[in-house]
């Protein structure tokens, strides 16, 4: 197990290194001068040169890449060119929104999706199943930002139960921060829950057809006992894989709903930085986003190995 862990961790590190190189060198060839953008259209050449030197833009790319990598290790990502604040701080600051949002949606979608999927599988072919799966089809087809828009109109603008957007830091007012995240989390989670419910149902229906469920029933268990005791855990395995993949979509989703709810998340940080040509921030933020996806996939793999005894001695991932 430890060996497997180390090997997978090396894989994660390699993936991140390649991702870092890709992001850095792609963005490095960009046109556009951050200094010019910061100082505006009437800035003089001397001020521009002064700022460029201050930002380290006059060094060769490979050296700057090395510096960036070192920075990634030590947590010192340098200063934002446009916002004049330490990048690591900016990113950490945004994470207090993006992480709870993504993970909250992951948890909520699991809490909604899995029980509904199990329910539908147990009532396969009955009206409850058909109704739920119909809803799930709609849930999958709804663009999440559009759904978010509807939520805002109903719960914020009309009913005024919840704020239509914005964010208060946790440290300042935890309950307000929580409140601010309710609608975005729902907007993200429900379409995901629809997907999970479908996957869970399909998987459980598949498992229910398998021989060991019949064996369990031959022991004297009722149908639903057999499904709960033997089916659900087995059915969760493929669902776990999907959840790992879904996380990538959740990360993408947070970037989109941040826009609807004007939340200061990583997506917003990235977009602001792009329009300011603040590549220092863009590359670090992108790498953090990619890193999140990679790490979650790694965790899912790990969980999979923990849940499924068959994988413990798997040779290569």
């Amino acid at each position: 197990m430890v060996g497997y862990l180390i090997q997978r961790l090396l894989g994660v590190a390699l993936t991140l290194l390649v991702a870092a190189a890709l992001i850095f060198f792609l963005l490095d060839v960009l046109p556009g001068d951050p200094a010019r953008f910061m100082l505006g259209i009437n800035a003089s050449d001397e001020s521009l040169a002064a700022l460029r030197q201050q930002l380290g833009l006059d060094q060769p790319a490979i050296i700057r890449f090395g510096q960036w990598l070192t920075g990634l290790m030590t947590g010192d990502l340098g200063m934002s060119a446009s916002q004049r604040a330490p990048i690591a701080e900016l990113i950490l600051d945004r994470m207090q929104l993006s992480l709870p949002l993504a993970f909250g949606a992951l948890i909520l979608s699991t809490l909604i999706g899995l029980p509904l999927g199990i329910f539908a599988a147990q009532h396969q072919g009955k009206p409850g199943d058909a109704g739920l799966m119909g809803l799930a089809q709609i849930g999958i087809a709804i663009p999440n930002f559009w759904f978010a828009m509807l939520l805002v109109v109903v719960f914020a603008v009309t009913l005024k139960w919840l704020p239509p957007g914005g964010f208060v830091p946790w440290a300042e007012n935890p309950s307000a921060a929580f409140r601010a995240l309710i609608l975005p989390t729902i907007a993200l989670a429900l379409p995901q829950a629809a997907i999970l419910a479908r996957v869970m149902r399909t998987s459980l229906v598949d498992v229910a057809r398998q021989d060991f469920i019949r064996t369990a029933r031959a022991k004297g268990l009722s149908k639903s006992q057999a499904l709960w005791r033997h089916g659900v855990r087995n059915a969760l395995l493929p669902v776990l894989t999907i959840m790992g993949l879904q996380f990538a979509f959740l990360i993408a989703g947070t970037i989109i709903v941040e826009n609807v709810f004007y939340l200061p998340g990583l997506g917003r940080l990235t977009f602001t930085a792009i329009s300011a040509r603040d590549l220092f921030v863009v590359r670090s933020a992108l790498l953090v986003l990619v890193g999140l996806v990679v790490i979650i996939m790694f965790l899912v793999d790990l969980l999979y190995a923990l849940v499924d005894p068959r994988l413990k001695k798997r040779a290569t991932p």
Partner: protein, 491 residues
């Protein structure tokens, strides 16, 4: 299951109801978040929109009508030749960090702004200064090379505010000024919080606390207002939604004007726009009202030249080239483009450009000019259009006050090189007599209009939306900023 869901909803409604504003708190929405908070080290208007007149003060200040008023300088005298200014400073003033304010701070600020390594975005303002001299702790003299018609106005702009040597370097994240509000917190990506300065020397402000919240998405802005999360937007980002607010008695919609001349900027050196007849043809075909209606939902004042209509020197030149398709076609034919031609139109992000561009393209198609619309981000616009002049046409709003002088620079991105115009501006810059200045400015306006240097579209409106119980908000913005000193809630 269903019951518990209802119960949960009820619970949320009971415990999590949205907060309402404190009595003397103002929550103002801004479209763009400032990159930092030092107005002397950046061009972004968003900086001034937070700090101008609230956190930082200059020697002079601009009032809501665009007039120059006393600020840190209570009084001044100008020498007869117009090259030496002597200011008397307000006494007892301290910076927010407790350090005292005197003439040395003024000298430091101005010298810093005009220094070689200065990163001030408006270095031009300080270029004429030859000498800054401390006469006494409360007296300072500034000498300039030539007389400047709008020197006092310029000193009242955000770029010329007075900072303290102790805090100048950290103003970007922790701004320390002399204004009636002090800086409390900046939640990156979200908001900036200011509080009343108890030690302020001068008229007390009414508000105890001001929160600037950054919302770039027009729809989110609208929702935030409707849900009561914000008290107002000094300049609401989406004119199309104003009718909702106009119909709602909770809100006041105040339409003022800005210093933003929105123009179809034209590369006067690029084929075929170097031909006056082509530019005239375009001028003949532009339907300004249709653009204002379509892109800005009717908010905006048509302009015939590069000048703000609310300015006393403004001349109405809307009819220099009245809309006349036949005439436009004839001019094109004369210029050798009877079948029209293809060109590009680069559009920066704001709505006026993106939507206006589509309408303009539809209009120019009437005379056979086929525009390829290219959307660009600001940085790319600055690089391609502004710096490298690699463009045919673009739509942009020039938001600096009294900036007709840019046409005198042949290297400016319009690439307009007219000796007569350059002479006019040179004279205007040194003349101080008002009547004479007016005549020169009007001549300059006419010349631009007749040369059809650019397509002149409209003056950007300032569409303010705020709580009907608020007073003291500026309807116009003669200078970049949101002056909150007079803002108060109705009893």
């Amino acid at each position: 299951m269903k019951n518990s869901a209802l119960h949960l909803a009820g619970l949320m409604a009971a415990t999590l109801f949205s907060s309402t504003a404190l009595a003397d708190e103002l929550r103002l929405g801004l479209v763009l978040e400032p990159p930092h908070l030092d107005p002397t080290a950046g061009a972004a208007a968003a900086i001034d929109e937070v700090v101008y007149a609230n956190l930082f003060e200059g020697l002079t200040r601009i009032d809501q009508n665009g007039a120059v008023r006393a600020s840190l300088a209570t009084d001044w005298a100008i020498s007869d030749d117009g090259t030496r200014y002597e200011f008397t400073l307000k006494e007892g003033v301290t910076f927010h960090d407790g350090t005292s304010f005197d003439a040395e701070d003024v000298k430091f600020s101005l010298d810093r702004a005009r220094a070689e390594d200065s990163v001030n975005a408006q270095k031009g303002i300080f270029a004429p200064i030859t000498k800054v001299e401390v006469l006494a702790p409360n007296k300072i003299a500034i000498e300039i090379a030539n007389p400047q018609g709008n020197f006092l106005f310029n000193l009242g702009r955000g770029d010329a505010v007075i900072v303290a040597p102790e805090s100048a370097e950290t103003n970007q994240t922790n701004p320390v000024g002399t204004g009636p509000f002090t800086f409390v917190d900046w939640q990156q990506g979200s908001k900036v919080i200011l509080e009343k300065n108890p030690d302020y020397v001068g008229d007390d402000v009414y508000l105890d606390r001001a929160i600037f919240t950054f919302i770039s998405d027009p729809n989110a802005a609208q929702n935030a207002m409707l849900a009561g999360e914000l008290d107002g937007f000094a300049n609401f980002p989406a004119p199309e939604t104003l009718e909702i607010f106009e119909a709602d008695p909770r809100f006041n919609v105040v339409v003022g004007s800005t210093e933003g001349e929105t123009i179809l900027a034209t590369n006067n050196k690029a084929e075929p726009f170097n031909d006056l007849r082509v530019r005239q043809a375009i001028a003949h075909v532009i339907d300004r009202q249709a653009i204002i209606d379509g892109a800005m939902f009717g908010y905006g004042t048509p302009i015939g030249t590069h000048f703000a209509p609310h300015h006393p020197y403004y001349v109405d030149l809307l009819d220099t080239y009245p809309r006349d398709i036949e005439r436009a076609k004839a001019l094109l034919a004369e210029a050798g483009y009877a079948d029209g031609f293809k060109a590009t139109l680069k559009l920066p992000p704001p709505t006026y450009a993106r939507r206006g561009g589509q309408i303009l393209a539809a209009q120019l198609r009437e005379i056979g000019i086929d525009l390829e619309l290219i959307n660009v981000e600001w940085a790319q616009w600055l690089e391609d259009v502004f710096t490298n002049k690699d463009y045919d046409l673009t739509i942009v709003s020039h938001v600096e006050p009294f900036d007709i002088g840019i046409y005198a620079n042949p290297d400016y991105y319009f690439q307009y090189d007219n000796k007569a115009f350059q002479d006019l501006i040179a004279t205007l810059n040194v003349v101080t007599d008002d009547a004479e200045r007016e005549k020169l400015a009007q001549d300059a306006q006419r010349l631009l209009s007749e040369d059809a240097v650019n397509g002149y579209l409209f003056q950007l409106a300032k569409t303010g939306v705020w709580d009907a119980r608020l007073s003291g908000m500026w309807p116009n913005s003669p200078v970049e900023g949101n002056d909150l000193t007079q803002v108060k809630w109705a009893e």
